[in-house]
Subunit: 193 residues, 2 copies
DNA sequence: GATATTTTAGAGGCATTATTCTAGAATAAC
DNA sequence: GTTATTCTAGAATAATGCCTCTAAAATATC
């Protein structure tokens, strides 16, 4: 009952996503988010308590989207496929990729000021950590600090580095990127794979 | 002649550097920069036309500091040494490294609004580009788009990625980082070195 | 159709923070 | 010592942008 909503929570998140991808979080204003959607500024506050909550939810939604596929690849494929998940995901989600990979979490929200936001954040880092540990144990054998650092490097840091330069230009990463990621993977992980 | 300055331009830049390293550019206020130095806020405007100029000059000064050593290594050492310049520089300049490597240029200034700022920015990118091209020509032989991308990857992207995770925690990068950078270098550059 | 509820719509208040302004202090040149 | 100059000192001003508030609109329930 009541007047049916014209603008959903997701629509505001989509609008924010576009603006963040284009200009970065610091240049996003509540007025711009609303205008980009043709909504009045006040309507934003019917869906989100504050600008910070809006940005936090955009961040969490985007990490969710990325991480789900990554963890799946980590469990059900070999290491190379998991390492290549990043460039593939980026090609399929250019806008979201710019949001996720060109900015740090602190640009979106500084403290967790709700139980829900805090829980979701913690769950994401815990799941990622667990996935990496499980993969390391299965692939390398031991989960020393060094071996964990090594798998994190080849599965996350290097793919991120390879893709970043292209995202900054607004381009999709070329095939060469996949090739370099794979070479790096084999070099650092050695004969273990 | 005139009253001798109590606070120099560099002192304001140092103060800004500390604050940016700790909290990021978006949380730096002119009042905080001045207070951090024990200066009145108005004095900032005796040295800089605006907050944006202050941040722009900090960025340029920091890039200068990094790039000088990097280009030197690129010309006078082998590729591995050039790739290892990043972790070494980071260890020697932890605060400046957090400024340079945890933030993008756009967080400091968006447009070049002075001839001087524009010229310095352009010179920096031109010098870097020239250095990378020269190195690629000398080491690989040809300077195709692919070979240039490859050298950029192993000399800049990978070292940056390897170091970033540690900088976020405020730690100096461990030796393992150098080892991974070197492995990656040899793997991607192949037998050419 | 009356009422309760939820939303649109957008103007206005309010807080933060960049910038300017005035007064006075410190120094060099004469 | 006087003057011109440059700076400190910090209060006053102005702009930006988050958030709130009131009015009206749209719908479900009775």
């Amino acid at each position: 009952m009541g007047r049916p909503p014209k603008f959903s929570q997701d629509q505001f998140l989509d609008s924010t996503c576009r603006l963040v991808a284009r200009h970065g979080p610091q240049f996003v204003t509540v007025a711009a988010v609303a205008e980009n959607l043709g909504a009045p500024t006040g309507s934003v506050y019917h869906r989100f308590r504050s600008k910070e909550e809006l940005l936090a939810r955009l961040w969490l939604r985007t990490v969710d989207l990325f991480q789900e596929g990554f963890l799946d690849a980590l469990q059900n494929s070999d290491g190379v496929a998991a390492a290549l998940h990043t460039p593939r995901w980026v090609r399929a989600h250019l806008t979201e990729a710019r949001v996720l990979l060109l900015h740090r979490r602190e640009e979106f929200f500084s403290r967790e000021w709700t139980d829900e936001i805090r829980d979701r954040t913690e769950r994401l880092t815990r799941d990622l950590d667990a996935g990496l540990r499980e993969f390391t144990a299965r692939t390398v054998g031991c989960v020393s600090a060094a071996s964990l650092r090594r798998t994190t490097f080849v599965l996350m840091d290097v793919p991120y580095a390879a893709v970043k330069r292209h995202l900054e230009h607004g381009d999709a990463p070329p095939d060469l990127v996949d090739e370099m990621i794979e070479s790096t993977y084999r070099a650092v992980m050695g004969r273990l794979t």
